[in-house]
Amino acid sequence: MKVPLSWLKEYVDVSVSPNELAERLLNIGFETEEILDLGEGLDGVVAGRVTEVSAHPKNPKLQILTVDVGRKKSAAIVTAAKNAAVGESVPVALSGSVLKDGKKIAPCDFAGTVSEGMLLSLAELAPPLGLLDETPADKGGIFHLPPETVPGTTAKKALGLDDCVLDISITANRPDCQSICGIAREVGAALGVPVRVPEIGYGKKPAKAKIPAVRILDKSACERYTGTLIEDIKIQASPEWMQRRLKMSGIRPINNVVDITNYVLLEIGQPMHAFDIRHIDGCIEVRHAKKGEEIVALDGNRYALSETMAVIADNTKPVAIAGVMGGEYSGIEPDTDTVFLEVARFFKGSVRLTSRTLGLRSDSSARYEKGVDLFSVEQGRRRALHLIERLGAGHVTELSVEDGVRENPSRVIKTTPAAINRLLGIEVPKREMSRILSALGFLVTGGEEALVCTVPPYREDVDNYTDLAEEIIRFYGYDKLTPTYMETVRPTEGGMNAAQKSLQKLKELLVAYGCREVLTYAFIHPDAKEKLGLSGRSVTLRNPLSAEQSEMRTQLLSSVLTAAGFNQNRKNGEFRLFELARVYLPDALPLTALPVERERLCLAFAGKNEDFYTLKEVVTAVFSSFSLPLCIAPTKAPYLHPGMGADILRGEETIGSFGKLHPACAAAFGAGENLFVAEIDLQPLLSLPSPVVKYVPLPKFPAVSRDLAIVVDEPTTVGLLKMTIGQTAGSLLEEVRLFDVYRGGQIAAGKKSVAFSLRFRSAERTLTDEEIAAIMERVMKKLESVYAASLR
C-alpha cells in the first residue's frame, strides 16, 4: 500500500518524521518497505528569478544570467541554455549542493567568468513517479517554476516535492488498512491524536433519464450492489492535486470520472466502476456467467467466461466481469453524458477465482481479493458522489438503486480483562484496554470486571477475545511482555523416539566412515527412474515449476547420482556421499489416500581407493548398527553392474542393493563409470525393537588356530566355502577368516587359491591337537567332495 504522507496528513496530524512514523507503524504490525523521498537530490536547490541576461564576453554560445536567489542575494550563472528570460522563475542548484545523480555543484570558471551554480532541467531535477511534466517553455533545457514563486523558496516546496511516499505492507487480516483512511485510523491510535473523516456530503438533482433496476442473483459472489445515476457528465482532466496523488500511488490519471473512482479506491479502499448508460440495455443483474458466454474487456481482449464466474449483465449481454474489469463498451468516452456508478461488495474468493482463471488482474480485482466491507461500500459511494459534485464532473441525481445487505448487525464481544491478561501473561489495567480499544473505534462498556466491546463495522477480522487481546498488546507494547518459563505447564518427556535416534546414530556412523551428507530436492524428472531401469507408480504434481521438479521420488539414487556427477564435473572426483531421506510410494493412482513415506539411505562412492569391497564394508557397518548381519545375493537391480552388485535380503524380501553402478546409468546421469552405489530401505530396520545385550562369559580356555589353503575352480565363491567350513567344522569352530585369494603362479588357469584361518575353542577344556586335526580333515574331505577343492 503506497501512502503519500501529505494525503495521510489530510486525515491525521503526523507530528513525527517519516522514519519515526515507520517505526511506530512497525510496532503496531505494519512494516514500511520503503520510504520514497520525492525531493531527493534537491537539498541545495532554490527558486531563482532571472533579473538580467547578458552575452558571455568571450564565448558566443554562452549566456550569463543574473538570478535573484532570495534573501537579497543574487548569483551569476553561466549557461548554454537560452530558454530563460528576465522575470522567469527557475530552479537554481547553488554551489555545494549534490544532485540526485551524485553530481556536485561547485563554482566553475567559463572562459574567465565564474558560474556560481547551475540552472536545472527536468532531467536534472529527476522527480520520481513522473510527477513533473515538461511544457514547451522547458524544451530549451531549463525547467520553469510557477511564475509567482518567491525567490529563495526551496525547489522541493515550489515543486510540491517536499513530500514522501511510504510503501507499507498490510497483513492479510487487515483489508480495512488497504486505504489511506484505514492507515490514518491506525496512525491516530498509535500517535494518540484524533482522526478526521472524509467529506461525503452531496446534493441530489432530479433526473432526466431512468436508472436500470438491479438484482443480485449470485449471492455467493455479491453481498451488496448499488448504482447511482449521474447526468450531465463533463469529461475533462482531473485537477492537479488529484492527479498528483494518483501518480504518487502509482496510478496513471485518465480523466475526471475515472480518476475519482481510482482516488476513492485509494482513499477509502472501495473499488467502483462507472458505466456509460448508453451501453446498458434494460436491467442489471449480478449473476453467474452462462456457458459459452464471452466478453471483450476494457483491455481489448476477449475472455471466455465460465459458470463459476460472476458477471454484471444487462438484458442481452454481460457488461462487466464482476469486480475484475468492465466490458469494452462500458468505459467512459469523451462524449459520455450519463453514468451509472456501480459500488458493490463482491466477495474476495469469487473475485480471486475469476481473476486467476482468466489470468486478468486490475486494481479493482487486486483490492477485492483482499476483502472489502459493507462500511466501505457506503463510504466509498458517498465520497465518490461528493467528489463528482465538488469537481463539477456531473450532476448526481436522486436516482439510485441497490440490492443485497445494507449493513451487518454490529458484533459485540463480551469478555473480561482477566481473560485477556491470562492469555497475555501480564496485568494490563482495564482503563488501558478501554483507551486502546476506544482509539481504534471500538465502543467499550462494562464495569471493572467486564469488557464489552462493539466492533467497528470495518473490522471484520475481530471475532473473539483473543483478537481483542491482540489489539490491546499491539498498542500497549509487546516489549511489556516479560519472559516467563512455563512454570504452570506440566512436565513432558522430550527428545527423539527410537527410530529418530537410529537415524541420527546411522548418520554419525556414516560420517565416521568418511561419508558426506548431501541434500537434494524431493521432486525429480519423471525420466529419472527410467534412466535407472526402474518403474512403478509415483506421485505427480499437478502444477510443477518444471518437468525436472514434477514427480515425487520413489528412489534417492537418481538425485545422489546427479550430485555425484555435479562434483565429478567440477573435478571433485573423490568422495563418499550419502543421503538419508524419504521416498513417496503411492498405493494407487490417482491418490485418494496419502502415499507411504519411507526413509531410505543412498550411498555413492568414487575415487581411486574405492571398490565394491570398500562399499560393502560400510553397508555391513550400517546393518551392524541395527544389530543385523548383512544377507546378500547376486543383484537383480537394473542400475548395477550385473557381476559386481548385491541385493540385500531380509527374509524373502529385497530391501536394498549395492555395487558398481551400471555403465549405462553412469552415462545417463553424466557421472563417471567407477561409482559404487547403494540404496537401502531403512523402514524395516527402524521398526525393529532394539535388543538388550545379555552378557556372555569371557573364554577361560585358549583358542587354537589352523590355516587352510585350498585350490578351487574360479566360480566357487568364498561365501560358499566359508558356509561349508562353518557347517562341517562343528560347534568348536569360533571363527573363519579369509586371509588370501591368489591366482597365477603355480595355480592352474581357471582356478584360484583361497586361504582361511580357522579358530577353535571350547568353553570347557583346552583342545588337543588330535581333536583339531580330525576336524580339519573332515572339513577338507567335505570341501574336496563338494567343490573338488585340493589342498594347496
Binding site: E369, L424, G425, P483, T492, M496, E517, L519, V539, R542
Partner: protein, 344 residues
C-alpha cells in the same frame, strides 16, 4: 680400635664402588659383579675366610662384610639402571620421524550444514521436554489449511503458492500440519517440535527455493501465556545466536495463531548496531509465532476455554544462511563437496 680383618673389606668396597661407577656397559658391569660378588669373587673369598677369624672379632667383621656386600649390590643395581636408561635414551635419540608429514588417509565425513543447524535447534528443544514428531510431507488439504483456520478462499491456498497433487492432496506448504496431527493423537500437556521439508511454488533464487525446511514448535496446556512464548524464544535465541542476543516481538498475522507475532533477534553479525546482514536495522527476523488460535484447538477437540497454547515456526534454511554467512541459498542444495566440507 678397628679389627685387623676390616681393612681388606674396606679396600674391596672402596675400589668396587669406583669401578662400578666406571663401568661403561652392562657386560663390563656383569664381569665386575662376577669378579667381586661371584663364586670366586674377591668379596666372596673374604666371606669364606670368616671362619678363620677369632670368635671375638667374627660378629663385627661378619656384619661389616654383609653391609659392604649390600652396598655393592645396591651400587650394581643403580649403575645397571643408569646404563639401561642411557642405552634407551641413545636409541630414542636416533629414532626420529618427520611429524609434519600428513599421510593421505580417509578423512571423517560430515553432515549437511542445514542438518547440523537442525540438530542444534532440536537439541535445544529436546532438552526442554519437547518431543520430536514426524509428519507427512504429502498432506491432505485439510491438515495443511482447513484445520489451521485457513478456509477455502484463503489466498495461501492458491495454486500460485501451493503444489497440488489432487484437489485434496498437496505438498505441505509449512510444518504446521504437524500441530494438528500431534493434537489429534495426544492431549495436553503437549510440547513438541517437528522438522522437515516443506514446499512452495517459488522459483529458486538467492533466498527462495521450491523445497525448503521448517521447524514447528507447539506447547499446549492450562495457563500457557504469551510471556511463556517470549521466555522460551528468548532462551532459544541466546542459545542459538549467543549470549546477549535479545529478541523483540512485532505484531503480525497468521491464521492459526492469535495474537500473532514476528520475532526478531539482535543481529548476530553486528550485535545490534546495524550492518549489511541486518540491512542497518540491528535486527534480523528469525521466526513467526503466536498463541494457538482457538479455532485450531477446537478443530483438534481441545477445549480452548480450558487450554491455551503457543506455536512457532522457524525457517531452517534462513537461519542456516544467517549463521554461516552464506549469501546464496542455491549453494545449500547444490551439494558441491568443497562447500559441504567447510562446515564439518
Amino acid at each position: 680400635m678397628k679389627p685387623e680383618g676390616i681393612k681388606p673389606i674396606e679396600e674391596i668396597l672402596q675400589s668396587g664402588i669406583e669401578r662400578i661407577a666406571d663401568a661403561k656397559t652392562e657386560e663390563e658391569l656383569n664381569r665386575l659383579r662376577v669378579a667381586i660378588l661371584g663364586k670366586s669373587g674377591s668379596m666372596t673369598a673374604l666371606l669364606r675366610e670368616l671362619k678363620n677369624v677369632s670368635n671375638g672379632e667374627r660378629p663385627v667383621i661378619g656384619r661389616f662384610l654383609n653391609e659392604a656386600r649390600e652396598t655393592l649390590e645396591t651400587a650394581f643395581s643403580a649403575r645397571e639402571r643408569a646404563l639401561k636408561a642411557a642405552l634407551l635414551n641413545e636409541r630414542l635419540k636416533n629414532e626420529r620421524i618427520d611429524i609434519t608429514i600428513d599421510r593421505e588417509t580417509r578423512r571423517v565425513g560430515g553432515q549437511h550444514p542445514l542438518y547440523l543447524i537442525k540438530n542444534k535447534v532440536t537439541d535445544f528443544f529436546s532438552a526442554r521436554g519437547f518431543m520430536i514428531a514426524d509428519s507427512p510431507e504429502i498432506e491432505f488439504e485439510y491438515y495443511n489449511f482447513d484445520a489451521l483456520n485457513m478456509p477455502g478462499d484463503h489466498p495461501a491456498r492458491d495454486t500460485q503458492d501451493t503444489f497440488y497433487i489432487t484437489d485434496r492432496i498437496l505438498l505441505r506448504t509449512h510444518t504446521s500440519p504437524g500441530q494438528i496431527r500431534t493434537m489429534e493423537k495426544k492431549k495436553p500437556p503437549i510440547r513438541m517440535i517437528t522438522v522437515g521439508k516443506v514446499y512452495r511454488s517459488d522459483d529458486i533464487d538467492a533466498t527462495h527455493s521450491p523445497m525448503f525446511h521448517q521447524i514447528e514448535g507447539l506447547v499446549v496446556d492450562k495457563g500457557v501465556t504469551m510471556c511463556d512464548l517470549k521466555g522460551i524464544l528468548s532462551e532459544f535465541a541466546a542459545s542459538f545466536f549467543g549470549q546477549g542476543t535479545v529478541i523483540r516481538f512485532r505484531p503480525s498475522h497468521f491464521p492459526f495463531t492469535e495474537p500473532s507475532v514476528e520475532v526478531d533477534a539482535t543481529c548476530p553479525s553486528c550485535g545490534g548496531s546495524g550492518c549489511r546482514v541486518c540491512k542497518g536495522t540491528g535486527w534480523i527476523e528469525i521466526l513467526g509465532a503466536g498463541m494457538v488460535n482457538r479455532r485450531v484447538l477446537e478443530n483438534c477437540e481441545i477445549d480452548p476455554n480450558v487450554y491455551t497454547g503457543f506455536a512457532f515456526g522457524i525457517g531452517l534454511d534462513r537461519i542456516t544462511l544467517i549463521t554461516h554467512g552464506i549469501s546464496d541459498l542455491r549453494l545449500v542444495y547444490e551439494n558441491d563437496i568443497r562447500f559441504l566440507k567447510q562446515f564439518s
